[in-house]
Each structure stands twice: as C-alpha cells, then as structure tokens.
C-alpha cells in the first residue's frame, strides 16, 4: 500500500517535473514564436556608448535607421554624427564608410557575429540559432520582456560579456551590449513601421 502510494507520487512527480522545468522557457518560447511572426520591419535608433579612455570617460552618441527582413537581412544605417552603413545578409557583413566599402564573411569575425546574431536571432525568433551562440535568460512578461544573452564561448566572453535585448511584445525597444573591458553601448529603438 505504501509502496503503491510512493509509486503514485513518483508518477505524479514524473508527469509534473517537465511542466515545472519548462515554466520559464514557455514564456521564452511564446516570445520567440511571437517574434518569428514578424517578417520585416523598420525602425529608428539612438545609441549611447560609454567608453573609458585611460582616466577619461567619454560618451559617444549616434543615431540612424534599422531595417530587417526575414530570414537573415539586417541593416544598420548611422546618419549622425557621420553616415555609416553596416549590412548583414546571410553570412556576408558589409561595412561602408564614405566611399569605402568592405565585405567579410560574418563567421570570420566571431566578435561581430555574436552581436549580429543576438539581434538577428531575436528578431527572427530563431531559438536554434540563439541556443547555439548564447545561454539565454528570459525575464519579465510577453508585454514587457528582457532577454539576456551570454556568449557560450569563453574566448568570446572575454570580449563581449553580455547582450541584453528588451522589448514589448513583438517589438524590440532596446539592445544593450556590455563589453568585457567595461565599455557599454545602449541602443534605443523606436519602431517606425510594422508591416
């Protein structure tokens, strides 16, 4: 009888355990599904970078446009203080500055790749891509969420400590990059068009 009880308890535990474990990711899953539903978008951004130069602290500000189209195209166009363009399509990263332009395969520059994939992976709701590069920490609710992405690779963590993406439902509102050296950049996003 006692044995039977214990067996039942065990069964119950086994049934409930996965539910309990997946309680947090259920929200992450829901968020990613929500994000995956958005196939393209445009937004404006303002970015603030806190930079330490020896004994001085400097704040660099810039602003511009962002655009994204599923599955893998992402463009960040800085308009102020100077025009600069950074475009990612698939595995090609193109950086343009004035008349100069340079393309490199994204995966040859892991420290750039990790930043691109944090944003691109979130925008496309690509769980597999995000899991490959980061350990994920979801907090908040679908209405007001924060996703903390820490690069899996130890050598990359020596450069990029953490990327924190925040949003409201399917819209990203902020991307914060914490560099291992202490510098930090915060990009605030205002969606201009949701098709």
């Amino acid at each position: 009888m006692r044995l039977e009880l214990r067996r039942r308890a065990l069964c119950l535990l086994l049934v409930l355990a996965p539910l309990a474990a997946s309680a947090a990711p259920a929200d992450l899953g829901g968020l990613l599904t929500l994000l995956a539903g958005v196939k393209s978008g445009e937004a404006t951004f303002t970015e603030t970078r806190q930079v330490t130069l020896q004994d001085m602290t400097r704040t660099l500000e810039s602003s511009g446009r962002l655009s994204f189209a599923a599955p893998d195209t992402f463009v960040r166009e800085t308009l102020k203080p100077r025009r600069e363009r950074l475009a990612v399509a698939g595995n090609t990263l193109t950086m343009s500055q004035g008349s100069r332009s340079r393309s490199v395969p994204l995966d040859t520059v892991p420290e750039a790749q990790v930043l691109v994939e944090a944003v691109r992976g979130t925008l496309t709701g690509n769980r597999e891509l995000l899991d490959r590069h980061f350990t994920l920490q979801f907090s908040g609710s679908l209405d007001q969420w924060t996703l903390e992405l820490v690069p899996r690779e130890p050598r990359l963590r020596e450069q990029v400590a953490r990327v924190t993406v925040s949003g409201v439902r399917a819209a990203l509102t902020e991307v914060q990059v914490q560099l291992a050296g202490g510098d930090r950049s915060t990009m605030k996003i205002v969606e201009s068009r949701v098709p």
């Binding site: 970078r49 806190q50 930079v51 130069l53 400097r58 660099l60 810039s62 203080p81 100077r82 600069e84 500055q97 004035g98 340079r102 393309s103 490199v104 395969p105 995966d107 040859t108 520059v109 892991p110 420290e111 750039a112 930043l115 690779e153 050598r155 450069q159 990029v160 560099l179 050296g181 510098d183 930090r184 950049s185």
Partner: protein, 789 residues
C-alpha cells in the same frame, strides 16, 4: 663450365659495369613530383606558372585539418600544434586564425612604418579635415568589440592607419573562426596553414616537415584527435611513397610471373637465372643513364623500368631457346650468333629508333623515358649477345614444357593464317571506327599525377575550407629590377582597384601593400607635416573634445620619426611570417629570369572574363593576365602535340631502318602492316571503352611498334628461309617472349598509378595483337610450323 665462363673477359667486363652501375644508381636522386613533366622551353605565361609550381610558396604550403573531439578540444589542439610547429624550426610560418598569437615583431615593424605603408596617407589625410575624418573613423569603433584593439594604440595612431593596414593585409575571405581558431564551415574540423621551410620540390625536406608535424600532433592523437594533411609537398611525398611501393610491388609480381613462365618453359633454375641477367642489366643501365644525363631519376621512369623486364627478358628467351636448337654441344652460341642474332639486332635497332625520338623531348619526363629505354634495351641486348653466349653456350639446359609449347605454337601458327581475312576485316572496321568516333585524345596534365582521387578530394575540401582556391587568375609582371617591378605592380593595382570597387573582383594580393615602391614611400613621407604644423592642425581637428589634442603628442612624435625613417625594404621582413607572403608575390631575378610580381586575383560572385582583365591591363609593360587552368591545359596540349610528332618521327625511323634491312617495299609492307593494324585495333578498343588517351598511351604505342617489329621480322625471316620451315623452338621462343611481355604489362593495369595503367592497357593487348597478326598474315600460309621436330 662455370669455371670456364669465369675466364672469359665478357664476364668480368659485365661484373665491373654492374658494380659501377649499382654504385651510381645508389647515389642517384629520385624525384616524384610533376616537374619532370613540365616543359623546358615554356611561353611567358607558362614560365610564370612553372616558376610558381617549382619554387613558389604555393609549393611549400601545408594544409592541416584537426578532427575529432569537440570544438573546444580542437581549438586547444590547433593552438598547441601551432605553438609546437613554430618552435620546431621546420616551418617558416604557421597560421591558425588566432590573431593573439601573431608575433609581436610584425606588429612593431608595421607600426614603425605605418605612414609609409598605409594607402590612406597623402597630403589631404594630414589636413585639418583629413585628420578630423581619420579620427572620427577611429573613434566610431570605440565602444564596439573592435575598440579593444584600437584603444592601446589610440594616442599614437588616432587616424587608424594600423586598422587600415590590417584591412589591406588580411584577406577578406578566409575560414570561419570558432573557439578562436580557423574551422571548417562544412564539417567539424579545425584548420591550420603551415609554410614549410623546405622547398616544394625538396621531398626529403617535405617528408621531414610532415614527420615534425605528426610528432607535434602525437599528444593530441593520444586524446582521440586525428589529422588531415594535404598540400603540394604532402602530395609529392605521398606520390613518391606510392610510386615506390608500386614499383616494388610490380617488380615483385612481374618477377614472379616471368619466373613462373620461364620455369615452365625451361624447367631449369640455371636457365632462369641466366634469363634474368639481361633484365637486371637493362634496368640498371637505364637508371644510371638517366641519372647521369638528367641529374635525377623520376619515380615514373623507374616504374616504366619494371616494364622493361618484359621486353628485355625477350632477348634472353630468344637466345636460350634458339641456341638450344643445334644438335652439336658447344656450338649453340655460335649458331645463334650467325643465324638469329642479326634478326634480334635488327629488332633492337628498330626499338632504339623508336625510343630515341623521345630523347629529344622538351619535357623532362618523356626524355627520361627515352634515355631509359635506349640505354636499357642496349644493355639487355649486349648482355645477351656477349654474356649469355659465354654463360650458357648451348642455350637453356632444361626442356620443361617447351616441347609441348612449341608444338602447340606450331599448330596455332599453321591455323592462324585462316583468320587472315577476319583480322583484315576487324582492322578495317577499327580504322573506320577511329575515323568516325570523336577523338579520345583528351588526357589532362593531372592524369600524369599518381595522386589518388581520395587525396585530391581531401585537398580540395581543405582548400575550400580555407578559401584558398588553387586555380585562379594571376596578373604577372616582369621587370629588370626590383624598383621597376614594384612600380609596375602599383600601376597594375591602380587598374585593378576600380574593378574591385565595382564589385567585379573580390580583391587581389599585391606585394606593394607590404612593400610600396620607393617613389610611393617617398611621396607619403613628403605628405607628413612637421611637428608644429601637425600640432596646430590637430588642435582644430579635435575641437569636439573627444580626444584632447594635448594627449596626442605620441602621434606627433611618431609622425616626425617616420618623416625621417628609411624606406621599408624587402630585407626588413626577413625572419617574419610576412616574408613568406612577400616571397609568393615578388620573385627576385634568378637564373636569367627577370624580377616577377604575381598579383593573384580573387574572383567576385561572378568570374571576370580574362578578356576584360586583359583590356584593363592594356598598355602596361610586361604585364600579363595568366589563367592557370587554361594555361595548364595548353601546356598539356603542347605536350601531347610534341609527343605526337616525336612518335611519328620514331615510327618513320622504324620504317626507314626496316626498309634499309629488307630492301623491298613488299617485305616492308608485310612487316609494317601487322604493326599498324595492331595500333589501330588497340586505339579503337580503348576509344570504345571510353578511355581518355594521353601521352603515356602514345608512349605505349611506340613500345608496341618497337616490340612488335621483332615478331614481324621473325615471321619475315621465316618466310625468307623457304627451304627450312620454321622450327617449333623458334616459334615457342616468340610465344614465350610474347607471353612474358603481355603478362608484365597486363600487370600494370592493376596499378593504382594512372600512368602505369595507361602503359599497360596499350602494350599488353598491342603486343599480343602484333604476334597474332604477324602470324596470321605471314607469307606462305602452309609454310610455317610444318617441320615439328
């Protein structure tokens, strides 16, 4: 009898010659690279190409893959291996994508000359606006991961010339980076590129480098990782090992088959031993002649040497059987010398004529084959004529199955003429087929290489992973001196840059990135302002206050130092990994060849037509666009064409010699027809089988004619001796000789070295056909084989 033989001078002369030969052969250099099959008088484009293949850095590149374990372990292994290899001394440079590992010396060298090297430096760059732009470029990277690289140099290099240099020097393609090292995109494999210190054609040095690599990898192998290895030198060493193993295997089997046949035929060990003497002498003489004539022996020539066993043993068989034919003891040698030697000598002469055409080939490999064959056949025939007549004055002592063989041959020889029309029809049909079917002469240069398809696949996959396409397009520039070479390279770069900007090219490598011409460096120095001017301009340019001007004194000091600095020279890079890159792009004059600059182009998404490139290079002195694959194809086409001419000349020489001896067009026709028909039948057969015919097939055909002419001459001889019809012994010797040669060459068809297969599939059926056709078309159908003993 043995004692008697020892008194003869021929024995001692032969022994002495063999000893000297063995000593020389032991000291010979054996090579196995493709260079022996490259022409000695190339066109300008080919010269560039060959220079690269023979001595270029590309020949010293070793591609390394590390498999097994997980990404972290492979990364650890890659770093560990790179460190060990750099310390081993066997490598000029080792790259694995780990930028942290790049030697400090290089960075300091570039830093100390950055204002002479950076393409951005001109007067505008040091104006107030230029400085402001440069500083803005640099500061825009702060607060990004790239900032970590920039910060330590910021006060010395606020305009970011080092970033500019890194941009121009680092290839824009390249492998994926994972766990800090290069990895494959398609499979779990870490990648390294090592440049060996040993030259690409120094196979011993390459083998040592491979050993050093395997030794350094041993600890990782013990942890379950495995190694993928390729590159020109690695393939060269593999080829040499393969050819060596194949030559040994073939020699062994060939020997066994020939021994078995001889044993069957003679039933005597002594006869066997004697029969092998001309073979041994021939191979040794051929090797020594090639070594003395060329300074080295190609492995393939030796491979070919094993096939000489088949032909040289013929002489011994002819002698041993034919000298046996006389009834009186002790008179066999004399009888043979009088009655049979003239025919053998004649056959020898035609063979020599055929092969001597190859001696004059512009391609080292073919010339070696020619010299080897001529020397080898000559030695084998002389050994037969002078040594065998002393050692075995009455031919082979034993009888074995020879009697039955002789009777069977006689019966066959009697029956074969009934097939004369069958063979005639078959020959005509084959000829018609050859005329109708598209040409099968479509062999390629790579078909000469013994490298296995598996090794080539591995090589291709490593190259694809590394983004190091092997075959592409080069712009080659020649110049009388270094300064002119660099200036011309800059002119060519100026024409290429617009193509890159337009996206038609992904990029190109140029030595002027590391080593701008003296004029360019002087111009950049002239654009650097003095300290006061620079200080004043900086004050204006940094008005936004992001980088305070008074902190930039290190920058001003560096600029002043580099205004006075001596220009960068080639010697400055000695001992750094960059020297390797420079060597690949700027080849100093050597051996009558001018200074050469090689700009290798990286194709954009679509290949740029060579004509377009040639247009872009229009008017530049001594500047050529070289497409490597078409150039290699052209090289092979020339090779084949030359070999055709030589074979035709060889065949003509054979005909002339035959005519000189036969003195009758009618007899010449009878002798030549079976040979020509055999060639046609073999060609038709191979064409039908879909074989791509190449140079080695052509050499094989020459061998068919050379060997076959012996048979044809014998039958002609028989026809002349109308009174005494052919005895079974002579016919048996022909059949036996033919069987050994067919067996030897059929064995070649089992080889994994394609060029040996090519020889085998031509010579084995070809010589068999020569014998059959000669017998079938022999004059006096009833005349042969009637007087069985």
């Amino acid at each position: 009898m043995r004692i008697q033989a020892l008194r003869r001078p021929a024995v001692w002369v032969w022994l002495a010659a063999m000893l000297i030969g063995a000593w020389l052969a032991a000291r010979a250099t054996y090579v196995a690279d493709l260079s022996a099959f490259l022409p000695s008088s190339p066109s300008a484009e080919q010269r560039v190409l060959l220079e690269q293949l023979r001595h270029g850095v590309t020949a010293r590149v070793m591609l390394v893959g590390v498999r097994g374990g997980d990404a972290a372990l492979r990364g650890e292994a890659s770093r560990g291996l790179a460190t060990a290899l750099r310390a081993s001394g066997a490598f000029d440079s080792v790259s694995n994508g780990d930028h942290l590992d790049s030697p400090k010396a290089v960075g300091e060298l570039l830093m100390a000359h950055r204002y002479l090297l950076s393409p951005a430096v001109d007067a505008q760059r040091f104006s107030v606006d230029g400085l402001r732009d440069g500083i803005a470029d640099t500061t825009s990277m702060l607060g990004t991961p790239a900032g970590a690289w920039i910060k330590p140099l910021l006060w010395r290099d606020p305009t970011g010339e080092m970033a500019r240099l890194a941009e121009t020097l680092l290839p824009s393609g390249g492998p994926r980076v994972e766990a800090g090292v290069w990895v494959s995109r398609s499979q779990p494999r870490a990648l390294l590129v090592a440049i060996t210190r040993a030259g690409g054609s120094d196979l011993d040095g390459q083998a040592q480098a491979i050993d050093a690599l395997r030794h350094a990898f041993a600890p990782w192998a013990a942890r379950g990782l495995s190694l993928d290895l390729s590159g020109a030198g690695v393939l060269g060493v593999q080829s040499r090992t393969l050819i060596k193993a194949e030559v040994e295997r073939l020699a062994l089997w060939d020997g066994a088959i020939v021994l078995a046949l001889l044993l069957l035929a003679f039933g005597s060990l002594k006869a066997l031993g004697v029969a092998l003497l001309p073979v041994a002498s021939g191979v040794l003489a051929g090797t020594v002649a090639v070594s003395l004539g060329f300074g080295q022996v190609h492995g393939m020539t030796l491979g070919f040497g094993t096939t000489l066993i088949g032909e040289a043993v013929d002489y011994a068989i002819y002698y041993l059987v034919q000298a046996r034919a006389t009834p009186a003891t002790g008179s066999g040698a004399l009888h043979w010398r009088r009655h049979n030697w003239p025919t053998v000598r004649w056959g020898l002469l035609t063979s020599l004529a055929g092969f001597s055409a190859l001696v004059f080939s512009g391609f080292g490999g073919l010339a070696q084959l020619g010299v080897f064959s001529v020397a080898g056949l000559l030695a084998a025939a002389l050994t037969t004529r002078y040594l065998l007549t002393d050692l075995a004055p009455d031919g082979a002592p034993g009888l074995g199955l020879r009697m039955r063989l002789g009777q069977a041959t006689a019966r066959a020889a009697a029956a074969l003429p009934q097939l004369r029309w069958f063979w005639g029809g078959l020959g005509a049909a084959a000829l018609a087929l050859l005329l109708v079917l598209p040409s099968a002469w479509r062999g390629q240069l790579t078909h000469l290489s013994p490298v296995s398809a598996q090794a080539l696949t591995l090589d291709a996959s490593l190259r694809a992973d590394l983004g190091a396409a092997e075959l592409g397009t080069l712009v080659a520039i020649e110049a009388p001196d270094e300064a002119t070479a660099l200036q011309r390279a800059e002119q060519a770069s100026a024409r290429l840059d617009p193509l890159v900007a337009a996206g038609l090219l992904a990029g190109y490598e140029s030595p002027t990135r590391l080593l701008p011409s003296a004029a360019t460096q002087a111009a950049r120095q002239a654009a650097l302002p003095d300290a006061d001017t620079l200080r004043a301009r900086l004050k204006q340019a940094t008005a936004d206050g992001l980088l305070p001007a008074d902190r930039l004194e290190p920058f001003i000091a560096d600029v002043q130092a580099q205004r006075q600095a001596k220009p960068v020279t080639r010697a400055d890079y000695d001992g750094t990994p960059l020297a390797t890159a420079l060597q690949a792009q700027l080849l100093p004059a050597a051996g009558g060849r001018p200074w050469t600059v090689l700009l290798s182009l990286r194709a954009g998404t679509q290949a740029l037509p060579a004509a377009r490139l040639r247009d872009a290079m229009q008017g530049l002195p001594d500047t050529r666009v070289v497409e490597i694959q078409p150039e290699l194809d052209a090289l092979y086409a020339r090779y084949l064409r030359e070999a055709f001419w030589q074979s035709a000349l060889g065949a003509l020489a054979v005909l002339l010699i035959l005519y000189a001896g036969l003195r009758s067009l009618r007899r010449l026709w009878r002798v030549a027809l079976p040979l020509a028909a055999s060639v046609v039948l073999v060609l038709a057969g191979l064409t039908l089988a879909g074989v791509a015919l190449g140079v080695l097939h052509l050499v094989g055909l020459l061998l068919v004619v050379a060997v076959g002419s012996n048979y044809a001459l014998f039958f002609d001889q028989l026809a002349q001796q109308e009174a005494q019809a052919a005895d079974a012994e002579t016919l048996a010797s022909l059949l036996l000789a033919n069987l050994t040669i067919v067996a030897s060459f059929a064995l070649l068809c089992t080889s994994s070295v394609p060029l040996l297969v090519a020889l085998g599939e031509v010579v084995a059926p070809g010589t068999l056909l020569c014998l059959l056709l000669s017998a079938s078309w022999a004059r006096r159908p009833g005349g042969v084989g009637q007087s069985a003993p």
